[in-house]
């Protein structure tokens, strides 16, 4: 009895402390969230403003009047539909190539034994740390010799060869978690390795493949430096290049610049919202190296 009587004020104080701590966390998170959201609201609000209202102090957060025509005017003053089509071609071709070739390599590294496997894997993985700028000039010269400049090929073909060490790593981690019995049973039934890969492992790895697909989309939708060196004709530009060119022309028309930026941002945001779960799991897996 005495112990309970003693414990009670202590427990109450802990509970009070917890409530206070939670309130403090909620307060800090809210302040931070306002800071994180402010640039987005500023982007959206500027995109919908009448140009005369851009230069007001204090600023108008909710535009009055709302000028939807900024979007139509910005998008028709440069060939944005062409940019979008070019970008989509690059993104889709990469999805196919990366998903296929990275999963093949990951299967080899995760589920087959052969001499030198771990050494080869470590060499491939270490190239994650290699800045692309180091190989940028020779790669440019290779594609120039091939006559592929100003085509989407330099932005697609290299990614059909393994898709990049990051994706191989991510898929390998996932494939290793699948039980070995699955493959052994199929092997006894006379199934070849390609069959096991295609019919057993891939269907079980949908969530990891989805994570890779989202990363590939964002990587190539957002890419700037590689398209910048390979593409130059206006009709070949990607959205990122197009937006950069648009910025040079309309450098002070903030309502147009923000409207065009909103259009480039929206697909990434949509992909994120539809696939948030896979996405966060995928990132979490990258930090989980043994």
């Amino acid at each position: 009895m005495a112990a309970v009587a003693l414990a009670r004020p202590w427990a109450a104080r802990v509970r009070l402390g917890r409530v206070a701590a939670r309130a403090a966390v909620l307060g800090a998170l809210s302040v931070g969230a306002v800071l994180m959201a402010a640039p987005f609201l500023w982007l959206l609000s500027s995109a919908l403003k009448d140009p005369s209202k851009i230069w007001l102090f204090p600023p108008q957060w909710i535009p009055n009047p709302v000028r939807w025509s900024n979007f139509a005017e910005a998008l028709t003053s440069a060939p944005f539909p062409t940019y979008a089509r070019n970008t989509l071609v690059i993104v889709l071709a990469n999805e196919v190539g990366v998903l296929a070739s990275a999963s093949l390599a990951a299967y080899g590294f995760a589920r087959l034994r052969f001499p030198g496997r771990d050494l080869i894997f470590m060499v491939l993985l270490s190239t994650i740390m290699l800045p692309w700028a180091v190989v940028m000039v020779p790669n440019y010269i290779i594609f120039r010799q091939l006559g592929w400049l100003d085509t989407p090929l330099p932005l697609i073909v290299p990614h059909w060869f393994g898709g990049g060490p990051f994706y191989i790593f991510l898929l390998r981690q996932f494939f290793r978690t699948l039980p070995a019995d699955l493959s052994d049973a199929a092997r006894i039934d006379g199934c070849g390795e390609l069959g096991i890969y295609a019919r057993i492992i891939l269907p079980l790895a949908k969530s990891a493949l989805a994570a890779v697909a989202i990363f590939v989309f964002l990587q190539h939708w957002n890419d700037f430096m590689a398209p910048l060196i390979y593409l130059s004709k206006p009709s070949n530009l990607t959205l990122s290049l197009g937006l950069a060119a648009f910025r040079d022309v309309y450098s002070t028309q903030w309502h147009y610049l923000m409207a065009a930026s909103v259009v480039v941002v929206i697909p990434s945001v949509l992909v994120f919202f539809f696939a948030q779960r896979h996405f966060v799991q995928g990132i979490a897996m990258t930090g989980m190296r043994a």
Binding site: P131, S261, A290
Partner: protein, 298 residues
């Protein structure tokens, strides 16, 4: 009977090599081969029009005498030294907050993550407007607080702090990796520490930090390497200016290759970059890596 397992193992090995063949070929074609080629390129003078002319180590010698090379190196070092600790600490702090189960935590996680998916060019254009010296969001905020306005991107001493400030908006990936690590710390460690009378701060230092040290290390390495590669912000927002204050290393490399068409010189720069990154990585693995605590059971 002894030949059977051997031939099975051989068949598995052949299959293994075939499965990884595209990736290995890709590595040779677009990474290892180009790196070797760039050693040769670095010893030539080549403008892509006339034939490459061998010049030996002249490019490296010019590099050491090139003021802009040193400017670029210092600018990149400045960015790295300020950005990396801030990014690591801020992302860690946010992850700690996001790991508390308060109301609407899913909403908060989304809000903090979302900036990271904004495409780099759109991000750059947006922040040029935020940094606008007359009517940008940041200066309007300063004006509201009664503080003087700052010519963020026009003032050589403010341009780099501005780009670092902007970089702290997009810490999503680092944050999520921390958060996943925090969720992986076994609850019983905290409980054991609490029973031993450890308060919140000792629990943080003696449980959270050691348990997360492999992840802190991973984030540190990725942040350093990312900092050496900053390009888009400098290219779009400041063109390396004002007065070369934001002339990042990769930006200067790009200018040499694709604006001045000095392929040999740019290749020499690329190799110097490779050696710097390699040297830094070795240093970090050697001196920071041994502070990392790994669980025995792994």
């Amino acid at each position: 009977m002894s030949a059977r397992p051997g031939s099975l193992a051989r068949r598995e090995a052949v299959a293994g090599y075939l499965f990884i063949a595209p990736a290995v070929l890709g590595f040779l074609l677009w990474t290892a081969g180009p790196m070797l080629a760039s050693i040769w390129l670095a010893t030539t003078d080549w403008d892509l029009i006339r034939a490459p002319r061998p010049v030996g180590l002249a490019n490296v010698q010019h590099l050491l005498e090139d003021d802009l090379f040193w400017t670029a190196l210092v600018a990149t070092a400045y960015y790295t030294v300020v950005h990396v600790p801030l990014a690591l600490a801020l992302a860690f702090a946010i992850a700690l907050l996001l790991n508390v189960h308060v109301r609407a935590i899913g909403f908060f996680r989304t809000v903090y993550y979302l900036p990271s998916i904004v495409p780099a060019v759109a991000n750059a254009v947006l922040w040029v407007w935020i940094f606008n010296s007359e009517f940008g969001l940041l200066n309007l905020g300063l004006e509201t607080l009664g503080l003087p306005k700052v010519a963020w991107l026009q003032d050589p001493s403010w341009a780099m702090p501005a780009l670092i400030l902007m970089s702290l908006w997009s810490l999503g990936a680092t944050m999520v990796i921390y958060l996943a690590g925090l969720q992986g710390v076994p609850q019983h460690l905290y409980e054991a520490a609490a029973i031993d009378g450890a308060g919140a701060l000792p629990r943080f230092w003696h449980v959270t930090v050691p348990m997360l040290s492999p992840i802190i290390f991973f984030n540190l390495v990725m942040q350093i390497i990312g900092s050496f590669q900053v390009f888009t912000a400098g290219y779009i927002m400041t063109r390396g200016g004002p007065q070369n204050a934001t002339l990042f290393y990769v930006l200067y490399l790009f200018q040499n290759a694709f604006q001045y068409f000095k392929m040999g010189y740019a290749s020499a720069m690329a190799w110097v970059l490779f050696l710097i990154v390699l040297g830094f990585s070795l240093l970090v693995f050697r001196y920071v890596g041994r502070l990392v605590h790994y669980e025995e059971s792994r």
